[in-house]
């Protein structure tokens, strides 16, 4: 469904991605592991058109994303939950969700349904729905960021380090959300530092180093034989 073929990217003069090739099929959870600074987030940004692509191809559902501006990706079915969450701090929880719910072509009944669904999964958001996004705790903001992506009814969610800086209890919640989304048939490209969680949640895993993919395998295999993990992540 989403294919990156030999993708190169630059930040200014700095060559950050040196030919990344990744594939995510419909409904799959794919993990992207690697140390800090290897280009995991940049890979997601390349898909989102937020970084200058200087080579290779990104194809989604048969469509080359090179000519698609960032603001049209949501309609295609790609949602992004960035590393810093990027909640609209001055908008309320409800307004944050509305940035996704107010999209053209969505019937009011369906909107209500999506909102209810999201509130059911994240009751704390219902409670805080009139509160400004910036007043939420880190964990609550993460939930809001994921909820915001969910109301786009995406085919794939690019999930960037959702457990970073969260308490263990929250981390479990994230794990459950990833499972729930998987059950609902949403594909997930999961960038994470938390290796055990990734190996448990994902079907397949890519490991990156210095702007390229160095290893690729079934999560089950890596769970059984963690040699590659040790080699590239030193964990």
């Amino acid at each position: 469904m989403l294919t990156l073929r030999d993708v190169h990217a630059h930040y200014g003069k700095s060559h950050v991605l040196h030919g990344v090739s990744i594939e995510i099929r419909a409904g799959e959870v794919v993990g992207l592991l690697g140390r800090n600074g290897v280009g995991k987030t940049t890979t997601l940004k390349a898909v989102m058109g937020l970084v200058r692509r200087t080579g290779g191809q990104i194809v989604f559902d048969g469509q080359d994303l090179a000519a698609v501006p960032t603001h049209q990706l949501a309609a295609l079915g790609i949602a992004w939950v960035p590393e810093e969450r990027r909640i609209f701090r001055l908008l309320t929880v409800l307004e944050n969700l509305r940035t996704g719910l107010d999209r053209p072509g969505l019937a009011p009944a369906r909107r209500e349904e999506l909102l209810e669904r999201v509130f059911a999964r994240f009751p704390i958001l219902r409670e805080r729905r009139h509160q400004a996004g910036g007043t939420l705790s880190g964990g609550e903001q993460q939930m809001l960021a994921i909820a915001r992506a969910m109301v786009l009814e995406p085919k794939i969610i690019l999930l960037d380090e959702p457990t970073e800086g969260l308490m263990p209890r929250m981390v479990s919640q994230i794990r459950e959300i990833v499972h729930a989304l998987h059950r609902d048939g949403v594909a997930i490209l999961l960038v994470e530092q938390n290796v055990p969680l990734t190996l448990e949640a994902a079907d397949r895993v890519y490991i990156m180093e210095k702007g390229v993919v160095r290893h690729h395998g079934q999560a089950a295999d890596l769970r059984a034989n963690p040699a590659a993990i040790h080699e590239y992540l030193g964990v």
């Binding site: 501006p69 603001h71 990706l73 960035p82 609209f88 908008l91 509305r98 940035t99 107010d102 786009l152």
Partner: protein, 286 residues
């Protein structure tokens, strides 16, 4: 004492007109980092357009509407042709580009309408007596109308569907795009809104002092001052700042000549930039 009250009235009324001009400017800056040098000139064009329509139709309200729409369209054209290509470049290039546009607009107005002052007749006739002065009703009406328009803008931003788009884009352009908000369209729409408000304030201000090519520059300058003092991108702040600056200038005009009173506004600007650069009416950032 009565001078003080009269000047207070002057300050409040001019402040409301300035607030209309400044709110457009601060919205535009807040959402796309563009310092629109030509903003006051859009106001001036609006005033001239309004004067022409008034001359043809005899209706002030039609003139107001026509001017707002015409200048909004012009604003859209300008934004698409000259400002969109500059996205991502050094923000100072937009100052240069809008400066160039300002020059062209001023000379065009001179060419189209000639050097003599145009008159816009007062929409609301009559005066009331304030001490020994005859104060025109329409000025009060102008202030009220400006207030209504600004309030409408505020409500639209807070509760309207597209208001959320605008606010989201202002806060985080990238994330707004990721959420599917058509940011380029939002930019153009905001520029149109800002232009329309500038044009409308031009028509409203027309009866005060007549319409001339250079009226725009004075307002551009003051609008810059207000936007900085009120906090760039802060709508509420720019409204408060407009009234504040206009009042200060009005009071200063009691002591010095009106031409020199503008220096007081400049001083306010400079002090704000030095000591509270995020704006006087903005809570200190943490």
């Amino acid at each position: 004492m009565d001078q003080l009250i009269v000047q207070t009235l002057h300050g409040l009324v001019t402040g409301m007109v300035l607030a209309m001009v400044a709110s457009g400017l601060t919205l535009i800056f807040g959402i796309m980092d563009v310092v629109n040098f030509a903003h006051g000139d859009l106001m001036m064009l609006g005033a001239f357009t309004g004067a022409t329509v008034l001359g043809v139709t005899g209706s002030f309200w039609l003139a107001l509407l026509a001017a707002a729409i015409a200048i909004a369209v012009l604003g859209v054209l300008l934004q698409i042709t000259t400002l969109r290509p500059l996205i991502g470049r050094d923000p100072l290039t937009t100052i240069l580009a809008t400066f160039g546009i300002s020059l062209v607009i001023q000379k065009y107005a001179l060419w189209q309408w000639g050097p003599s002052v145009r008159r816009i007749t007062e929409p609301v006739p009559g005066h009331f007596t304030l001490f020994h002065l005859e104060y025109p009703w329409y000025r009060v009406a102008t202030a009220l109308l400006a207030g209504v328009i600004i309030a409408a803008l505020w409500l639209f931003l807070k509760y309207g569907k597209y208001g959320i788009w605008i606010r989201a884009t202002t806060q985080d352009r990238v994330m707004a795009q990721a959420m599917g908000i058509p940011v380029p369209l939002v930019h153009t729409a905001v520029f149109a809104i800002g232009s329309a408000m500038a044009a409308a304030s031009g028509v409203l201000f027309g009866p005060f002092a007549g319409v001339t090519q250079t009226m725009g520059f004075d307002f551009t300058l003051r609008a810059f001052i207000v936007v900085v003092v009120g906090g760039m991108g802060n709508l509420g702040g720019s409204i408060l700042a407009s009234i504040f600056v206009s009042l200060v200038e009005a009071y200063a005009a009691i002591v010095v000549s009106p031409a020199q009173a503008v220096i007081v506004s400049f001083v306010v600007l400079v002090l704000t930039m030095l000591f509270r650069p995020t704006g006087l009416f903005v809570p200190t950032p943490k």
